[in-house]
Amino acid sequence: MSSDELNGLYQQLILDHAKSPHGRVTLEHPTGSSHQLNPTCGDEITLSIQVDADTVAHVGWEGHGCTISQSSASLLSTLIEGREVDDTRLLLEEFRTAMRSRGAIELDEERFEDAIALNGVSRYVARVKCAMLAWVALEHALDGK
């Protein structure tokens, strides 16, 4: 009943992450935090990080939103915990570039692991904002904004 494209967007891994997300915790000693909102649908996320000696030691977020925004936040958490800040920024740029590419650029499997399940999103211009929500919050949290 549902098309290949739709199944490509909503891969099982994405549905699973949305249902049982990683990183939905409150950090005790965040070094940065950001609240982001999608004005069209009212979806919100507050994402906090704890940076210790140039490394993102911990990530925690809370919020509500669609399958894409929730699974993207969850996958982000699994990816960046323990990653160096500089590399986290690189990863963020790679993610943004792929998401904005309208399907032309895929996420690198070595770098993004399970998160390559989000590849399908970039063909859905209206949903890119959903996938980006947590990442934009991460960017601001890193900048201490």
Binding site: Y10, G42, D43
Partner: protein, 428 residues
């Protein structure tokens, strides 16, 4: 005025087929499926007659109106003013009570700014707002009928109050006398909620507002396309509507003002074509409606809006309303049979629109699933965050029909909604 004549028949399937033939976009495919357009509450599609009216004007008569003296300009001015007459008649007003705007939002801002201009000029003392005065809206309002009033309150020191809704989204009329008091100067209310589709008891609100000497502003965005509208009979003081929601192009709308009040208002936008004498120091202004139409107007779009009004009138607004009732009933009856669906809004008179929540599934995901089958619906807060918050939701899915909506389309939509939860693996 606001109710469908009981004898009006809904549109027959054959009539709807004929109507659909007038809307070229209904033939497009989306994701390999024929488009099922259920987002007319956001913006309607446009019939060929409307597109042709605009183009014919442009290729035969386009020129500056109310400024030129040559033949083309005189003819263009005539067509433009005839369009005003047609649209005025369509909403139950006189031509000199209708001001062209870009959309309903601009009309509401026009009034809110004109009232604050009145508040800062000794010449308009009767319309002045200041500390102690109250502006009343409702908890149902679209942001367009809320934020301009918040801003007017900020500019003048007046207080913004609102009529709350109950758990079904119904206006709490039991609180009307308590909220609309002698301090109220403006009461702004929507005729039909763009989230609930329900028709508000405008007469009760007008009666109370006029009793305390407040002016009534009607947001007719969702009624003008779907119900016979008679602004004189409704006895409101101001009203707004958007052409793009009633088969006309984007970029055109109407602002209605009761003649005496409209002429008592100071201008909003200033510039050419709204003045008599201008010196470097000061300007004198023309009477309404020209006073409110600064600069080159949306001439081609005005003429297209008149063509849209004619198109709807030819069908008959009582029959358009009967069809809306039918669409609403089929949507509500169908959704009621699907597990995990919560439809917003009370039963009762409605236009052909239903917003709903699917338990455990975000509206964006519902919309995406429907879109995969070519079904276009609106997801989000529909520019009514306070109402959603009051009903305990952030985002909902809205299906909204128009004269071209068929039973088959509604059934495709209902089938898709009943498949959503299975796809996302949510069971109740």
């Amino acid at each position: 005025m606001t109710s469908t004549t009981p004898t009006a028949h809904t549109l027959t399937p054959a009539e709807i087929e004929t109507i659909r033939g007038d809307f070229p976009i209904l033939g497009v495919e989306v994701n390999g499926h024929p488009l099922v357009y259920l987002d007319s509450g956001a913006t309607s599609q446009k019939p060929v007659a409307v597109l042709d009216a605009e183009r014919n004007f442009t290729v035969r008569r386009n020129s500056a109106v109310h400024r030129g003296a040559h033949t083309l300009a005189a003819e263009a001015t005539e067509e433009f003013e005839d369009a005003r007459e047609t649209v005025a008649r369509f909403v139950g007003a006189d031509a000199d009570e209708i001001v062209w705007t870009s959309n309903a939002t601009e009309g509401l801002n026009l009034l809110a700014y004109a009232l604050s201009n009145a508040s800062f000029s000794p010449d308009f003392a009767s319309l002045k707002l200041s500390v102690g005065d109250e502006i009343v809206v409702t908890e149902q309002e679209h942001h367009a009928n809320l934020i301009p009033w918040q801003q007017l309150a900020l500019r003048t020191g007046a207080t913004l109050r609102f009529i709350p809704v109950d758990d079904d989204g119904r206006l709490r009329l039991d609180l009307l006398d308590e909220i609309v008091t002698e301090r109220a100067r403006v009461v702004a209310v929507t005729h039909v909620s763009n989230v609930l589709g329900t028709i508000n008891p405008v007469a009760d609100i007008v009666a109370r507002a006029h009793q305390v000497g407040a002016i009534v502003v009607l947001d007719a965005c969702q009624s003008a396309p779907h119900l016979p509208l008679d602004l004189h009979a409704l006895d409101v003081d101001f009203a707004v509507f958007s052409g793009h929601k009633m088969l006309a192009p984007t970029g055109i709308g109407g602002f209605y003002g009761r003649r005496a009040l409209l002429n008592a208002l100071p201008p909003f936008l200033t510039g050419g074509s709204m003045i008599t004498t201008v010196t470097m120091e000061a300007a004198q202004f023309l009477p309404a409606p020209q006073r409110f139409e600064a600069g080159t107007q949306r001439v081609a779009q005005s003429i297209a809006l008149a063509a849209a009004a004619d198109y709807l009138s030819a069908i008959g607004m009582d029959r358009v309303a009967a069809h809306g009732s039918h669409v609403s009933r089929r949507l509500l009856d169908g959704l009621a049979t699907i597990d995990g669906i919560r439809v917003l809004g009370a039963q009762g008179e409605r236009v052909g629109l239903a917003s709903f929540d699917v338990a455990g599934i975000h509206a964006h995901d519902v919309g995406q699933f429907l879109d995969d089958r070519g079904i276009a619906v609106r997801v989000g807060h529909h520019c009514a965050q306070p109402l959603h918050r009051r009903l305990g939701l952030t985002a909902t899915t809205r299906a909204s029909g128009s004269i071209y909506t068929t039973d088959d389309e509604i059934d495709l939509f209902l089938q898709a909604v009943s498949d959503v939860r299975g796809f996302f693996g949510v069971t109740s």
